[in-house]
């Protein structure tokens, strides 16, 4: 008897603990997701209902040249940011790790400060520094290329420039993750390896790199998701131009939804982007895990 009552109580307690999460999850994730899916099959404006149009939005999307252009730009941006930022963060973390005490704290603060800034401030700073007429970085560009370049108005410079700004802005967080990973590697391993006569390069390749792999995989995956969702910097720096050479999927969602009032079509684009991110990031994480195990 007591057993049974305990079991029911047990269940109730469990339910009461899980319920708040389930309720919030349903309210702020499951329900909106369901609505986006439903909306993507309608011709709804931004606010208010619409008529069911079946697969029309998707047919239109897959025939839209701008969609492929944006997809391509998203891919290009991922190439420009994900691996470079990971490599840079790892290098900085290794260097900072060799410092100690106050110096280490100071170096960390310096690298982490940009991450604290809001995106609008970051883009303002860089827009000024790279301003075509008055930017302090223009003499540097002029020294390298021979003439000043309006970087956010030039189709070849725009994506790399946005990538540089993005890496500068978000790198501090990755440094922090790597540093935490480095501190988790027991020092005995290094001591033992050194006793066996391992060189610095061998220490990195045989001890640091494999033991740090889970963190590297995490950073790569987080970065991939984050950079596929690129919007703010593009919207604030180049607005997708010149001639769509920095147009990305989220900008397309924004323009369709808020400028052209095509809520249904925007929902279809965002759903495609969502599925794309889910598939790519799951795939990448699995590949990285397998890659890690083989070592």
């Amino acid at each position: 008897m007591a057993m049974i009552r305990n079991r029911t109580r047990h269940g109730l307690v469990a339910l009461s603990l899980v319920l708040p999460f389930v309720a919030i999850f349903a309210l702020v994730f499951a329900y909106p997701l369901f609505e986006v899916v439903r909306m993507s099959f309608t011709d709804a404006p931004l606010i208010g209902g619409g008529e069911w149009v079946g697969l029309d939005n998707y047919k239109r999307l897959f025939a839209d040249k701008l969609f492929y252009r944006s997809l391509q730009n998203n891919g290009y941006f991922v190439l420009l940011t994900v691996v470079p930022t990971t490599v840079i963060a790892l290098t900085i973390a290794l260097a900072v790790n060799r410092l100690s005490g106050r110096m280490q704290a100071l170096a960390l603060v310096l690298f982490f400060t940009p991450y604290v800034l809001p995106v609008s401030v970051v883009t303002q700073i860089w827009a000024w520094m790279l301003d075509f007429q008055f930017g302090v970085l223009q003499p540097v560009i002029e020294f390298v290329t021979g003439k000043p370049v309006p970087v956010f108005k030039n189709p070849f410079w725009v994506m790399p420039s946005v990538a540089v700004v993005t890496i500068w802005w978000t790198n501090g967080f990755n440094v922090l993750l790597f540093l935490a990973g480095l501190r988790n590697i027991p020092t005995e391993l290094y001591e033992a390896a050194q006793l066996d006569g391992a060189t610095r390069a061998q220490l990195f390749r045989r001890v640091t790199w494999p033991l740090l792999w889970p963190v590297t995989a995490l950073v790569l995956t987080l970065q991939l998701i984050l950079q596929l969702k690129i919007f703010d910097q593009i919207y604030l720096l180049s607005e997708g131009g010149p001639f769509n050479s920095s147009y990305v999927l989220l900008l397309m969602v924004y323009r369709e939804a808020f400028q052209l009032n095509n809520g249904g079509y925007a929902a279809a684009i965002s759903l495609v982007l969502f599925l794309l991110i889910v598939v790519i990031s799951v795939l990448q994480f699995q590949i990285l895990r397998i890659g890690g195990k083989r070592k």
Binding site: P45, L46, I47, G48, D64, K65, L66, F132, Q133, P150, K153, N154, P155, E239, G240, G241, P242, F243, N244, R255, F258, Q259, L260, N261, N262
Partner: protein, 426 residues
């Protein structure tokens, strides 16, 4: 006991609230910054002083996409303003969004206005396809040609009184720019070559002067020989860039600064910069004599891009606006129209004819010089992809601006504009 205190408290509160209920607060949103904004705020303050029973609470938001995005989302859920300024070029988009309430004949009567008081072009632009009025036109504004007299002295382009003369074709204008360059002008003509508005207005003016059509009534982009005319317009702008006559990638503020600081002999910009020039000149900071004229006939016909600011009352979500408040809003509109002479001081041409035809306006300079443009202005095409903060403006920045800077040929740019705008239409 308790009940009576409660009741008397309610009575007291109601008594206090009574005069407050009689006073209407009109929430007002506009997008006027700079010299425009100063004059609009002065009008609001004067209205508030003269009308103790109606108080305008004004907020200025950022011009363009941010303003219109906010209007749509807030009006749809009933959090929008009671009265707002609106560009008539955006009317087709506004109608498709359903954010505006019709202005009835009774509304106009409350405001003390009638349809016949307005310039016909502006009035037509304020109506839906079925003839329903959705906004009350306030002004007609356009781009004009500003000039700095000091660079033109000794050339054939200044007459005996020191006014601009002799520009009747692109060749004349280019000769004038060449002369100004020889007289030391760094960028003889300035406009916002890196921004949407600046590029769009110059392009649309050059296109319209050739009789070209951006979007036809049945929704075709650059129909027939308008394609070649658009190419021609971009070729002209590209030439000005190649010759070094116009600034490279200038954003709006920089383009104005080039003229006010005396580096440019000409400026192609909106009439709304007239107050900037006037204020600078009066305070003695300008350092040169200036003038402004209607954009000369550079191509085949005399016409200029134009648009109107208008008053509009947005929907209030699912609910209707309280009739008393609506009357108050219409009174505000009526008062503003009748005091539009102060708005004309910001360079605009009043859309309200009794003011535009008044002696006071006819003596106002430089407005009176260019006010003839009201008669031969070309408004934006009636299309959901045209007008302020529309794909047409985006295309100007995204495609035409790179083209005039040499990133693609005029032909390629026109093809891209066509396919871009066509694909945005449904």
């Amino acid at each position: 006991m308790k009940l009576t205190t409660f009741a008397s408290a309610i009575a007291l509160a109601a008594g206090l609230a009574l005069p407050a209920a009689a006073q209407q607060t009109v929430t007002w949103w506009d997008f006027f910054a700079g010299g425009d904004g100063v004059r609009m705020k002065a009008l609001i303050n004067q209205f508030n002083e003269e009308h103790p029973d109606i108080q305008i609470q004004g907020t200025t938001l950022e011009w363009g996409v941010p303003f219109y995005t906010k209007i749509r989302t807030s009006a749809a859920v009933g959090q929008g303003p009671d009265l707002m300024t609106y560009h008539l070029s955006r009317m087709p988009l506004a109608l498709s969004e359903g954010v505006l309430t019709p202005i009835t004949p009774e509304d106009l009567e409350t405001a003390g206005l009638s349809e016949g008081d307005f310039f016909e072009t502006a009035l037509q632009a304020a109506k839906g396809p079925d003839g329903t009025l959705y906004a009350v036109p306030f002004d007609i504004h356009s781009i004009v040609l500003y000039y700095n007299k000091s660079y033109l002295e000794g050339t054939r382009f200044l007459d005996a009184e020191g006014n601009l003369t002799g520009i009747e074709s692109v060749a004349d204008f280019e000769e004038a720019m060449q002369a100004a360059a020889e007289n030391g002008s760094e960028t003889p003509v300035t406009y916002a070559t890196g921004d949407d508005g600046g590029v769009y207005r110059v392009f649309y003016t050059l296109l319209s002067q050739q009789g070209g059509i951006l979007i036809s009534e049945d929704g075709e982009v650059l129909p027939g020989d308008s394609t070649e005319k658009a190419v021609k317009a971009i070729e002209i702008m590209t030439k000005w860039h190649n010759e070094g006559w116009q600034p490279e990638q200038a954003l709006y503020e920089a383009s104005v600064a080039l003229f006010t600081s005396g580096k440019s002999a000409f400026q192609l910009n909106g009439v709304w910069e007239v107050p900037t020039m006037k204020d600078l000149h009066e305070s003695g900071k300008l350092g040169f004599e200036w003038g402004a004229v209607e954009v000369p006939k550079l191509m085949d016909t005399q016409t200029t891009w134009a648009d109107s600011h208008a008053w509009a009352i947005p929907i209030q979500g699912q609910t209707e606006m309280d009739p008393e408040k609506r009357d108050a809003v219409m009174q505000v509109i009526g008062w503003m129209e009748k005091n539009a002479i102060q708005w004309a001081d910001a360079g605009h041409i009043p859309a309200y004819r009794p003011v535009a035809e008044s002696d006071e306006f006819k003596q106002m300079q430089p407005n009176a010089t260019y006010s003839s443009l009201a008669d031969d202005a070309t408004y934006d095409p009636r299309s959901e992809v045209a007008g302020v903060a529309s794909p047409s403006y985006d295309a100007a920045q995204n495609i035409i601006s790179p083209a005039i800077h040499g990133y693609m040929t005029p032909e390629e740019a026109v093809e891209q504009v066509k396919s871009e705008l066509q694909s945005r239409m449904r």
